[in-house]
Each structure stands twice: as C-alpha cells, then as structure tokens.
C-alpha cells in the first residue's frame, strides 16, 4: 500500500516579504502554492498511489476567493480520473471557511466530519482511516482521545490536525502528546498544523510532513509531502517528496574580512553562486544577512541601497529566474571597540559619547518621536505588523532604534572620504 500524506497546503496563500524589482521572477512565482499543489497531484498520479491524505489547512483562513475552491476541485478531478481517493480533514484555517461548506467536491474526495471522529475502512487495502475535522477555528480540546479504537487486522491511520504539545511558532490547537498517540494503537498518524517536517517512531509512526510550500523567510529549506509505503508486514517506509516551487534560504555573510562595500559585494556574490549551484532546479528566495565586526560597517550603513543593487547585479549574473532577493539585512558592527573610540583624542570620542547620551536624552527622544511620528501616522494599517519600529515610534520607545543607528552613523562618518 502506498499513499501520500500532505498537510498545510494553504492554497493561494501569497509569499510574504518579497518585494518586486524589475528582473525579479515575480510573475513566475506568484502562484507558487497552486503550482506546488499541482505538482503534488502530478506526483500522486505518477506514483500511482492508493490514496492521498490531506491533514488540514487546505486554505488560508481569511482567504475568501471561491476560485481557490474551484481550483482544488479541478485538481481533485484529475485524481478522480486516475482513480485515486482523497481523504481531507479540515484544520483551524479551513474549519470556518465558507468555501468548505459550499464546494461540490468530486466523489473521490471524502471529508472527515467535524462533530465526531469517524472511521473509513478500505477493505481492499485492509486499511482504516480515523479522523475528525475542526468544527471551529480555535479548537483547543484534545481530539485524539476521542478517536475510535484501532480496527483489528487493518493498517490504522489517524488523521489529525494538532500542535502536538505546542510549538512556539504555531497556536496550540487540539493539543495532545506523542505518548497518547502511540497509546492509541494505530500504525500511522498523519498529522498537520506544524509547518516543519518531524517524525517520531515507536508503536506508531507519527509524521508532520511540513507545509507544501514555504511562504516566508521563517519557512526556509526544502518543503513538500511524504510518500508512505506499507509492506505486507505493516512496516512503514517514508520518502519525502520535495515539490516546493520556490525555496526560502538565509545566507549569512561574515564581513569581518571585508574592508569595503565592494569586498562585501564580492563575498556575497560568491556565496550566492554556491547557493544557486546546490539543487539548482528550484528557484530560491534569499535573505542575505551581513554580520561580523567589519571595517566596512560604516560604508554599509551609508550605502545600503548600493549594496542591494550590487547584490541584485550578482543575482542577475547567476540568473534572475533562479534567485529572488528577499532582503539584504546589514547587521554588522564596527571594528573599533567603543572603549577604544573613547580613548581617541579627536571629536569622534565626543561624538560617540553624545550619541550614547542621545539614547536616554528625553528631549532628543521626544523631538525624534515627533519627527518620525509624522511618517508613522500615515502608513497603511497592513504595514504596521511588518515594521515593528513603527509601533515603537508611536509608543515613544525609540532607545533601541537610536542604539542601533548610532554606531553605524559614527563609523560611517569616520570612514567616508
């Protein structure tokens, strides 16, 4: 028996944090979640699996475009023509979706009920699937304890959307423990909700397949589903199917040995080439973070825009269709220790002291807030969660911003010709 276990597909969910620029592969990747799902269906047909399990969060919760549901139905239609049944369980994101209620799904799709756990037996395969969809978004009850007893002589698969004891990155919905799942007597637990890939073995094989397509810089690395093969003795073999269309990567560059912006740019270029050479079929969204105590700290502070342009030039040389720059974050520090600057006899020592005082000077902070608030009050609401500093501006908590900017300014001033 072979089946595909997927979860957290979040169809039509957009990629976050990627700003477009003239040569960015935006048009190519705007439908990444759809393309990944289509690829998943392709693989199911190619592998001729016996069935597919989707363990929750098929759609994004707030997403209202019914076209997404229609698209899902069409893809399910392809599986129907290939005679592949699909078992869908709704999680926190799709529990209250209007689409979930109104869609007319093809007959090969079976959705688990939300009011109580139910069991579907596949006699030809000697397999039984147990599952219960979320009724409400914020389901915080332990659903696993209500799951039916294992069907004797069958390969029992528990389908569950759960945070499994709680992961900081995800709300603690339908909590339960690995021990509880092992104790249920099932052979396989097809879980969803946690976007990373995890596997526990023991009496049961418990699997989070991870989400199908990374959607932001926090979801780096390879993504996809799991192909599960069960032999006649009930032994389980897992194979990860990497079907993501765009892969998120972070590239951290130590600029300690870079004297100038050009040096940094060259080093970033080399690292990008190495990145592109690895598994080069999949386009990447890259965040480049420059760190370390660097002689180029001041120059980078003053010329962040130029650095971004040079990184984009490196990407163009590699191939714009292969890399999409998410952001260049400059987190370098000045080489000179502040204590050493204090020992200098020139005005920079005074300047450093003054800049340090500025962090706690109420008058300065008040003036700065007034100036920045002019901007902060005008930005659209959607932007506020993306730029935490805006909240700091409005609440007047600007010490951190000043502490971040001051050393760069000082070094920049000291090094500009």
């Amino acid at each position: 028996m072979r089946f595909i276990h997927a979860a957290d597909i979040h169809l039509d969910s957009p990629l976050h944090g990627l700003s477009s620029y003239p040569d960015a592969p935006a048009a190519q990747l705007r439908s990444a979640s759809r393309d990944a799902f289509t690829e998943l269906v392709n693989r199911a047909i190619e592998e001729q699996v016996d069935f597919m399990v989707i363990a929750g969060d098929l759609y994004d919760g707030p997403w209202r475009d019914h076209n997404t549901g229609i698209f899902f139905c069409k893809e399910m239609g392809r599986l129907k023509r290939a005679e592949i049944p699909v078992f869908v369980l709704f999680g926190n994101h799709d529990a209250e979706s209007e689409m979930t209620k109104k869609l007319e799904l093809p007959t090969n799709v079976r959705c688990f009920a939300a009011n109580k756990p139910e069991t579907v037996k596949l006699d030809a395969l000697r397999a039984a699937l147990h599952g219960q969809s979320f009724k409400h978004k914020e389901t915080v009850d332990n659903l696993a304890i209500g799951y039916p007893e294992a069907v004797s002589g069958y390969f029992n698969i528990g389908v569950l959307h759960t945070a499994l004891g709680g992961y900081a990155a995800h709300p603690n919905y339908a909590p339960c423990s690995v021990e509880e799942l092992h104790a249920r007597g099932y052979q396989y637990w097809a879980l969803g909700h946690v976007h990373e890939h995890f596997v526990w073995t023991g009496p049961s094989t418990i699997v989070f397949p991870g989400n199908l397509q990374g959607r932001n810089i926090r979801e780096t690395g390879r993504r996809g589903a799991v192909l599960v093969t069960v032999d006649d003795d009930g032994r389980v073999e897992l194979e990860r199917l990497f079907i993501d269309i765009l892969r998120w990567e972070t590239l951290t560059i130590d600029a300690a040995d870079c004297a100038t912006l050009q040096d940094v740019s060259r080093k970033v270029g080399r690292a990008l080439e190495d990145l592109a050479a690895d598994d080069s079929q999949v386009p990447r969204a890259v965040r480049v973070t420059i760190r370390g105590r660097s002689p180029a700290h001041g120059e980078l502070f003053g010329l962040e825009g130029q650095l971004r342009m040079e990184v984009l030039a490196s990407i163009a040389a590699i191939g714009n269709e292969r890399l999409w720059l998410e952001k260049v974050k400059v987190e370098t520090q000045a080489v000179a220790d502040p204590a050493l600057v204090e020992g200098r006899l020139d005005a920079f020592a005074d300047l450093q002291e003054i800049l340090r005082d500025a962090q706690t000077d109420p008058d300065f902070l008040k003036e700065l807030q007034a100036e920045l608030n002019t901007f902060a009050t005008k930005v659209p609401p959607d932007l506020r969660p993306l730029v935490p500093t805006l909240q700091n501006v409005q609440s007047g908590e600007l010490e951190g911003l000043v502490a971040e900017v001051a050393p760069g300014l000082l070094d920049h001033l000291a090094r500009v010709e």
Partner: protein, 1163 residues
C-alpha cells in the same frame, strides 16, 4: 610619542635614507627638498611605519619588490623608547634592528588607541586639505556647530554625509506625495494591487448565486424549446401534405395505364436497354465490314514495295574492319613528312658532336666516337680534383703565414720579459693601509659625533638654563634628594584637596555671610515697615500696667498722679493687645526671620571656624613643604611647579649623559684614528717614502695606496708575460703542424691529377687545370649530342616506320576479300578510301529495306484488328435475338418496343412511391396516402401562415432566453478556479514588502540624520567656548593681527560665526577672503589639536607644504603657530620652498633641525 630617527630602508624611491629628528626645546623639524624628492612619500611612510603597510602597497613598490619594502625608526615617549623595523609581511611585521621578531602590539604603548584614519585626520594636514577646509567653512558658514565639529574632527565629509542622509530620507518619503519617492511608488503599487484583488476575488455566495441563476435560465430555455418543437412538428405535417399530394395523384394514374397495356396482349420482358442494343448492333455490323475491306487492300500494296529494295551484304559483314582501316589511314597520313624532319634533327646533333670532337682531337665518325668516349667515373674524378685544388693551395699559404706571425709575436714578448723588473710590498704596509682606510671611513661618523657633542652640549646648557634660579652644578643635581613621584603626586593631590577645601569653606562662608546679611536686612525691613506688637510687648505693657496699679494700690503712687498713669498703662496695654491681635502674621514672620537670623549667625560662626581650620591646615602644609623644599635645595618653589622642575632636571641629566656619551665616543674614535696614522707613516718611511711627521691620514693613505697599487701592477704584468710566452709556444707548434699537413696534401693532389687525366683520356688536350675543365665541357657536349640523336631515332623514326608497315598489311588483307580484282601493288590508301565509300552506300540501302518491312507489318496488324471488330458486332446482338426468339434484327424491333412500354409504366409507379417515401419523413406509404386523403388541401395555406407567425414569436423568446443562459453561464464560468485574485494578493504582498523596506530604511536614515544634527549641536554646546577662544588667538596670529577674536552671533538665526577685526568690526565667514578662510580653518584645526593634546597622548604632527600660497609675513605667522604646537607634540614640517628656511631659523633659532632631501635621494 615622537620619532627620533626614521629610516627609509627600502621604500618608494628611497634606499637606505635616514632622517634624524633630535629633540630640542621646540620639537620642530623641517624636511626640505625639491618637487619629486619624496616628501609626500615620507608623509605616507610615517603612517605605514606606525600603523602597518596596507595589503596593497603597489604604489610604493615601483623600485623595490613589495615583499622587500622596509622602514625603521627609533620612537620614544615618556614611558619608554623602541628601536624597530617595519616590514611588508603577512606575519611578523615588526622586528628589532637585529631582525628579532617583535609582537604586533609592540607599538601600542606609543600610538595608544589611535588608528590610521584617526592619525591621518588629526595629525596630517596638507595644503589641499587646508584649502578644502576653507571651502567647507564657507559652505557651512551659517552652521557654527558643523564648522566647529568638522574642523575639530579633521573631516571634510560631515556636510556631505549630512546632506546625503537628508537626501536619502527625502528620496524615500516626505509628507508631500510624489511618484518618484520610493515609499509613494510602493504605495501606488499597493493601491493598484488592492483594487485588483477587490475586482477579481469572488465570495462563495456570489458563486452560489451565479450557479442558481444559470440553472434557472437553463430551465426556461428547455420549456421554450419544447413549445417550439410542437409548432415545428405541425408545420412539418402541413408541409408534407402539400408536398406529397401530387405524387399520390401520379401513382394512381400510372397504375391505370399498366392495366390497359396488359389487357392488349402478352408482353415480353426483355432486358432494359434492348432497344438501344438493337439500334447500336445494326450500325456496328455495317461499319466493321467496310473497314475490313480497306485493310486488306493496304497489305497487298505494301508487300510489293518492300520486295523492290536490295543492298551490299558483303561489305556490311566486314564493316568493323573497313572502319578500322579508314581510321588507321587517317592516323598515318602525315608520317612520311615527319620522317624527313626527324632525320634532319639527327643530322644536326651529329654535326654538334663532330665539332666537339674536333676540339678534343677525336675522330669524327659516330661509331669511332662512341668507342673513344671516356668512362663517366674518370670524368667525375677529374672534376673533383679540379674543385679541391684551390682549397689546398689556400690552406698551404694561410698556415705558413700564421706560423710566421706567431714566431714574431713570441720574440717580442721574450724581449720584454728579459728586460722587466718587479716591485715588492710588505704585508705590514698592506695591513697598516687597511687600518688607516677604516679609520678614514670613520671621518663622517666623527663629524657627526662632534656635531652631536655640540648639540648635546647646547641641549645641556638650555636644560640647565631652564632650571631657573634653582639651577645647581651637575654633580649636585645628580645627587640631590628627589622625592618619589608617587609621593609628590600624593602631596600635590593632598594640597589640591586642601586648597579645594579652603576654597569650598571660603565659598560656603561667603555664601553664609551673604545669606546672614540678607536675613538681617529682611528683619530690619520688617521692623521698619510693619508696626508689630509681639506677645513680649504685650507682656511688658501688662507688667507696666500691673506695676502702676500696684503702686497706686499700695499708695506708693498717689492716686492723683497714679490715675492718669494707670489709665495710660491700661490703655497702652489694651492697645498693644489690639495691635498684637491685628498683626499676628507679621509678628510670626518677624519671629521666623529672627529665628532664621539666629540660625544663620550660628552657621556663620561654624563656617568661620571651619574656614580658619582649613586655612590653618593649608598653611601648615605649605610650611611643611617650604621646609622640605629647602631641604632639596628648592627653597621657595611652589609644589605645583616642582614636578615640571624635576622633569626639567631629568632633561638636564639626560642631556648631560648624552653629552658625556658623545664625548667619550668621540675620544675613542679620535684615538683609533691617530694610532692608524702613525703606524702607516712609519711603514711608508721604511719603504722609502719621506713623509713629514704631521702628514694627514688621507695623504698617507693616498701615498700608500698608490705605492701598493703600482707594485701589484708590476707583479701582475710579469705574470701575464710569462703566461703569454707559454701559451704562444704551444700555439706555434700547433700552427707548424698544420702548415706541414697542408703542404703534404698538395703534393698528394699533384700525383692523383696526372693519373686521373690519363684515365679520362684528356692527357693530350689538358696540361693545366683550366684546360682540363674546358675539355670536360667538350666531352659533355659530345655525350649530349650522341644521346639526343639516339633518342630521336628510337622514339620517333622507328615508331613511324612500324605504323606504315602495319597499315599496308591490313589494307592488303581486306582488299583480297572485298576487292578480289584489285592490283597487287595498288595504293592501299586509295583502296581504303574506296572501301569506306562502298560501306556507306550499303548501310543506307539496308535502312530503306527495313523501313518498308515495318510499314507492311503495321498494315497486317490493322487488317487483323478490323476482322476482330466485325466479329464482335455480330456477337453483341446475338443474345437479344436469342431472347426474342427471332433470327434477324428486323424481326426483333416490335417485340422490343412493347417490352419498353411495360418497363416505363412500372418505373413511373415505383418513382411515385419512392418520392412519397422520400418526402414522407419516415411515415409508411399507407400512412402518407391516408394523411393526404384526410387533409383539407384548400385550408392548408391559411393554417401554414398561422404556424409561421407562432414560430417567429417563439424565435424571439428563445433568443432572449439563450442570451440569459449565456450570460448566467459566463458569470458562472468566470468563477472557474482562475488565479487572478491569488496573483493580485501576491502583488499586494510584494508592494507591502517594498513599503516595509522603504519604511525601515526611512526610519533608519531619518533617525541618523536627526542624530547627527543633534550631536553636532551638543558638540557645539560643550566645546564652543574654549575652542573658539584658542582658535581666535591663533587666527589673530595667522592674520598678523588683522583679526583678534572669533565669536558666535546669537542674534542671528541660525547663529553665525563671525570674526572681529582689529578695528572691532565684525565680519561673517562669507565676508572673509578665500585665503583668510584657509587660515581660519588652520586656526580651528590647530586649536582643536592643542586642546586635545592637553589631555595627553600625542603623535607627530605632519604638516605638508601648508604655506605654499602664504607671503613671508603670513608664513612666518604660520610657523609661529606651529612653534606653539611643537610645545605639545613633535611637528614635522615638509616643504619644497628653500626660501622658508631663513623664516624657520628666524622663528625657531639657528639650531632648528633641518633635513634636506636632495636629488637623487639614494644614500
């Protein structure tokens, strides 16, 4: 930190150049040299020396390899000194002069926390930077804070950075929207994408509604379709009746005709087309008979024509041989003429042969000549010997000449050797000269030592003078009891605390006295201005009243006298009570003031006591110090001055030690030089040179050196002559052997020559080599002529004769067969030509016979075909005649006509039925006939019109419903799972990301801009006062008193920097000339440097050609400013202006250290 010695060992254009910067009263040093002498290189080299050579030192590696670049220096400061080398290396970059590795941190105690940028900004200043600074001051003249900060920091980029930050922030966002700004561009994208999302997203309810609408429209369309189908059906029925009614009528008429025909007799059913067969058969039988007759006639005629043609068969059978003979005839046609020409050529060659034979004296017959010809090898031998003869003669002559020349050379050498004498020099003299030259080489060092001694002496004198009235002999200074530095510092700190305590006590006492006086004044004012009755006053008034009453009551005071007094006392007491009650608050105030006064008086007493105590402590301390200082011989010296005095004393002791060291070293060097001189002079005397006793070392060295070189030259010459003689003797023997071999070789040749001539049969004609060469040439001609004659005979003449013979043979053979009557000696060529013509005729006649035969065969074929067609015509009608039962075509015709009538009627009946079924829309024949019979044909058109109108109405309705269905279907299909909304949301997120990037950068840049502005203002607040005061003083000096102070005019907004002229006029920066602004910048830089240096930690200040555009007076003023700076730190002044040197000496004294760089700079 200062540099005492600086060595440019391998660096830039320098190799082994050393610069010395001795410490003087003013640590000022001039390095002077023309352009390209390397001054700028020195400035950079100091940076490299102190802070490492940059990774890419290509600019300084044009003469030396990068890896060889090397600097050295001796640096010192109050804490120590270091002699070191700086290398261009990756690992060990610092070394001792003895090449021992030093840690990279070895220079840290000297350069402190300074980095190279700091050093170059603060301690380096050249003319370009000064001019740039002046320009900047003008640019920022309205921003005092920026002017001060930038000048103090020594950076020229502050304004640029500030402007760049402001510009970058503005390029991202300002409160006014503009598409060009990054933020607004992203915002526009966001708005567009949001609208796009709204337009393309479809709610589930919208889909449900669209789905229901589409289903409803479909139902209506189905109903309308059904109604229309009913109308269409009725219309079809009516149309069918109208269409089929005529066929029903036809069917019935033909069925009647058929019955009538059968009633008139039997009718044969012959095959259809029998009539046609009958007609065509009659025509075919007639025409084929006529054709057959014509073809028979043609065959007879053509056979007669063919039999008349004949041709020559005999010649045709030998056609190949006749053609070959004719071809052979054409080929040999010109052979007879050619044979004559070839024979002439043979004769010409034989004639050439005979002429050559005559030269050689040989016979002229060809046969004899061929027998006489010498063998080829003999001729080659003679030729080879001829070639060798010249070389052998030349070898013989040359080798003999070489022998003669060498013999003459050796004789001359032997003669010179016989008369040569050799001078001898003792080893002692050589050693003495070497010593003396070493001593002579020390002369510059000696001069340097003498100079250093003088300098040290002057330094000592200046140091002693600097001790002032507490100066003492050196011995006393050395042995004087010096308090420990730590103790001195502790005492100074203690006294400082005492002074501070006294000042504080005095300040507090003064403050308390002020307060006391203020309180007294307040009390007086309250008393004077307020009528206040206190409880005490009331008590006193009541006591007075009671006292008077007691006196009256005791009769001590008579009633008459006491009554008025008592009344007054009672009234006074009551009045006092009234007043007290009315001035309670003033009284309380006065009481409080008086209590305060008491407290302050007490505080005043306490503070006065404290002041007295503190003062006493200070005085006690000073008395103790006076006693102690007297003990050190420093009677009257203030404690504050004593540290400086001890430093000056250290300087005296250092200078004394330096002087002693130099003097001792000088004495040692002088003694060593004198010893060497005396020894050399003694040995020269012994060698016979009369040297005066006081002859100098240089002259003695020259004499000794000349003597030794002369003697060594004689020895070398004799050695060379002997060697020459030996080598010449050996060479002569070799030359003689060579000459002998050449002579023998010539003799051998002579003997071989005679034998070779004989073998070549040339002895008779060749006595000399030249004759032999001519004879060989003639032999060659003979040989050539004979070969050519033989070749023509064999290849041409013989071949042609053979061809002619074969032609004759072939011709005769053919003639015997084809022309038997021909003559035996007939001309074969003519015979061949005749046979060719005969053959052509035979071929032509044979072709004519073939053509006639082919025509006959064709006519026979056509006759056979005509015969077959006649038989076929008869066969065609045979079946018809058989079927009809008759034997002729005429009998068959009436039977065929009745058969055709029967068939026609049957066909028309069938056709009518077929038409009915074809147009009957699938109904049976019976149903159709019944339908037509049942119909009222007269009413048919009216009913058809009615149905037509109903159908037209139905079409309109259906069209509208179809549009409705299409619209609803399209609306539903629009929700087809397309990704427009998802793509729009992606675009929205992209725009948000761009907005976030822009916002983060804006907040950062705006904060940086604000921070910089604020920091500059704070710097001004903190530093402006002392910096402006000192810069004003320096500026006054630089402008020769043209300006006296610098101010900030706060009446202006923003406050402006102004300079006050000597006549008190205020001038803003923008009103200063360009040169004066440069000087203002220099003043600000020097003032900032001085202020900072006063905190300690100095580095050498390198001034590079600062006064290029200064006149002498201003240059002198600039030097004075640097003189002041040189009190605090070492100043190295680089210039290419020689004319500045007198000014420098005028300002710094004649002893100022001047280092001159010449051309070239290599040491």
């Amino acid at each position: 930190m200062r540099i005492r010695n600086f060595h440019l060992i391998k660096y830039g254009k320098f190799t082994g150049t050393s610069l010395t910067f001795p410490k003087n009263e003013h640590d000022f040093h001039v390095v002077i040299g023309p352009n390209e002498a390397g001054k700028s290189t020195i400035r950079g080299a100091i940076g490299d020396l102190l802070f490492d050579m940059p990774t890419r030192s290509g600019a300084m590696a044009f003469k030396h390899e990068q890896r060889d670049l090397r600097l050295g220096a001796f640096v010192e400061n109050a804490t120590g000194e270091l002699d070191f080398l700086r290398l261009k290396a990756n690992k060990v970059k610092l070394r001792t002069p003895a090449e021992a590795a030093l840690p990279d941190t070895a220079l840290d105690p000297f350069v402190g926390v300074a980095g190279r940028p700091f050093f170059e900004q603060m301690y380096g200043l050249d003319h370009t930077m000064m001019v740039e600074g002046g320009k900047f001051i003008l640019d920022a003249s309205k921003d005092v804070a920026q002017v001060l900060f930038q000048s103090a920091a020594g950076i020229a980029s502050l304004g640029k950075v500030k402007d760049a930050l402001v510009q970058e922030a503005a390029a991202i966002w300002t409160s006014s929207s503009a598409a060009g700004r990054t933020y607004y561009a992203a915002l526009a994208q966001l708005n567009t994408a949001t609208q796009e999302l709204k337009d393309s997203a479809v709610r589930t309810k919208a889909w449900t509604d669209a789905h229901a609408a589409e289903a409803d429209a479909q139902t209506k369309v189905d109903q309308a379709d059904a109604a229309r189908r009913g109308l269409e059906q009725r219309r079809a029925t009516l149309e069918r009746v109208r269409r089929l009614a005529p066929f029903v009528a036809t069917l019935r008429a033909r069925e009647e005709d058929l019955k009538t025909l059968i009633a008139t007799g039997s009718v044969l059913e012959l095959p259809s087309g029998s009539s046609t067969v009958l007609t065509q058969g009659e025509a075919a039988v007639s025409s084929t008979g006529e054709v057959l007759k014509l073809r028979d006639d043609d065959v007879g005629r053509l056979q007669g024509l063919r039999d008349q043609v004949t041709y020559d068969q005999a010649v045709l059978t030998r056609k190949v041989e006749v053609d070959d003979l004719e071809a052979f005839r054409h080929r040999v046609r010109d052979h007879a003429k050619d044979l004559l020409l070839r024979q002439q050529e043979v004769d010409q060659e034989l004639e050439r042969m005979r002429r050559a034979c005559a030269e050689l004296g040989w016979p002229d017959s060809e046969a004899e000549v061929r027998l006489t010809l010498p063998p080829e090898i003999a001729l080659k031998t003679v030729t080879t010997l001829v070639k060798e003869r010249g070389a052998l003669e030349l070898a013989k002559t040359t080798s003999q000449e070489s022998v003669d020349t060498k013999e003459r050379d050796l004789a001359a050498v032997q003669k010179e050797l016989d008369t040569f004498s050799v001078k001898v020099v003792t080893e002692e003299l050589r050693s003495a000269l070497e010593e003396a030259q070493t001593a002579k080489g020390r002369a510059p060092a000696l001069r340097t030592l003498m100079l250093a001694g003088d300098t040290a002496k002057q330094t000592l004198e200046r140091a002693l003078a600097a001790l002032g009235r507490w100066t003492q002999p050196l011995a006393a200074l050395r042995t004087m009891d010096v308090p420990a530095t730590e103790r001195l510092a502790a005492m100074q700190a203690h006294r400082s605390r005492l002074v501070t305590a006294v000042e504080a006590a005095q300040e507090r006492a003064d403050e308390s006295a002020g307060k006391l006086e203020t309180t007294r004044l307040a009390v007086d004012q309250v008393v004077a201005t307020k009528h206040i009755v206190t409880a005490e006053d009331v008590r006193l008034a009541r006591e007075e009243r009671d006292k008077v009453w007691s006196s009256v009551k005791s009769h001590a005071l008579p009633l008459e006298a006491g009554a008025p007094a008592l009344d007054f006392a009672i009234e006074h007491a009551d009045r006092q009570v009234d007043v007290q009650l009315g001035s309670t608050s003033e009284a309380a105030q006065l009481l409080a003031l008086r209590q305060q006064l008491q407290r302050e008086e007490a505080e005043q007493d306490r503070l006065a006591q404290a002041l007295t105590k503190r003062t006493a402590e200070l005085e006690e301390f000073d008395r103790n110090w006076a006693t102690e200082s007297a003990g050190h011989g420093l009677n009257g010296m203030l404690l504050e001055d004593v540290s400086a005095w001890f430093i000056r004393r250290e300087a005296v002791l250092t200078a004394a030690a330096q002087l002693e060291s130099k003097q001792a070293e000088l004495a040692r060097e002088q003694e060593a030089t004198e010893v060497a001189r005396v020894a050399l002079r003694g040995l020269l005397d012994a060698a016979g040179f009369a040297c005066s006793p006081d002859m100098g070392l240089v002259a003695l060295c020259a004499t000794a050196d000349g003597h030794i070189k002369s003697a060594d030259a004689t020895v070398e010459r004799r050695k060379a002559l002997v060697q020459q003689l030996d080598q010449g003797g050996r060479a002569l023997e070799t030359l003689r052997a060579t000459a002998l071999r050449a002579n023998q070789a010539l003799q051998t040749w002579e003997s071989e020559w005679a034998a070779a001539l004989l073998k070549a049969k040339l002895s008779a004609s060749s006595r000399t080599v030249a004759e032999a060469e001519a004879a060989i040439e003639q032999v060659g001609k003979v040989h050539s002529a004979l070969e050519k004659a033989a070749s023509i005979r064999a290849e041409r003449i013989d071949t042609m004769n053979a061809d002619l013979d074969r032609f004759q043979g072939l011709g005769r053979d053919l003639a015997r067969e084809l022309v038997p009557d021909a003559e035996p000696d007939a001309d074969i060529a003519a015979l061949s030509k005749s046979l060719g013509e005969r053959l052509a005729r035979a071929v032509s006649e044979q072709q004519a016979w073939v053509n006639a035969d082919e025509n006959l065969a064709a006519a026979v074929n056509q006759r056979d075909e005509a015969r077959v067609k006649a038989q076929e015509a008869l066969a065609t009608v045979k079946p018809l005649l058989d079927a009809a039962g008759v034997s002729t075509l005429a009998e068959a015709r009436p039977l065929v006509e009745r058969s055709d009538r029967l068939r026609q009627l049957q066909a028309e009946i069938t056709s009518a039925k077929d038409e009915l079924l074809k147009g009957g829309d699938g109904l049976s024949l019976e149903d159709l006939v019944a339908e037509v019979d049942a119909a009222d044909l007269a009413a048919l058109p009216g009913e058809q019109d009615e149905i037509k109108r109903a159908l037209e109405a139905s079409t309109g309705e259906l069209t509208a419903l179809a549009e409705l269905r299409l619209t609803t279907k399209q609306a539903l299909e629009a929700i087809s799972g397309r990704a427009n909304a998802a793509v729009a949301e992606s675009k929205r997120q992209e725009a948000l990301a761009a907005l976030a990037d822009a916002s983060e950068r804006y907040l950062k840049v705006a904060t940086a801009s604000k921070l910089l502005r604020w920091a500059i203002d704070r710097y001004r607040d903190r530093k402006q006062g002392p910096l402006l005061q000192r810069a004003g003083e320096i500026f006054g000096g630089l402008t020769l008193g043209g300006f006296k102070t610098l101010h900030v005019d706060y009446d202006k907004q923003p406050p402006a920097l102004t300079a006050r002229r000597s006549n008190d006029a205020l001038v803003e920066v923008s009103g200063l000339s360009e040169g004066t602004r440069d000087q203002l910048y220099l003043a600000l830089r020097l003032a900032a440097l001085e202020l900072q240096l006063s905190q300690g930690g100095a580095l050498p200040f390198v001034a590079d050609d600062l006064f290029i555009n200064f006149d002498d007076a201003r240059a002198k003023a600039g030097l004075r400013a640097l003189k002041e700076l040189s009190k605090f730190t070492q100043v190295i002044f680089l210039s290419h202006h020689d004319h500045l040197l007198p000014l420098v000496r005028e300002v710094f004294g004649e002893q100022v250290n001047v280092v001159e760089l010449g051309e070239p700079v290599e040491a």
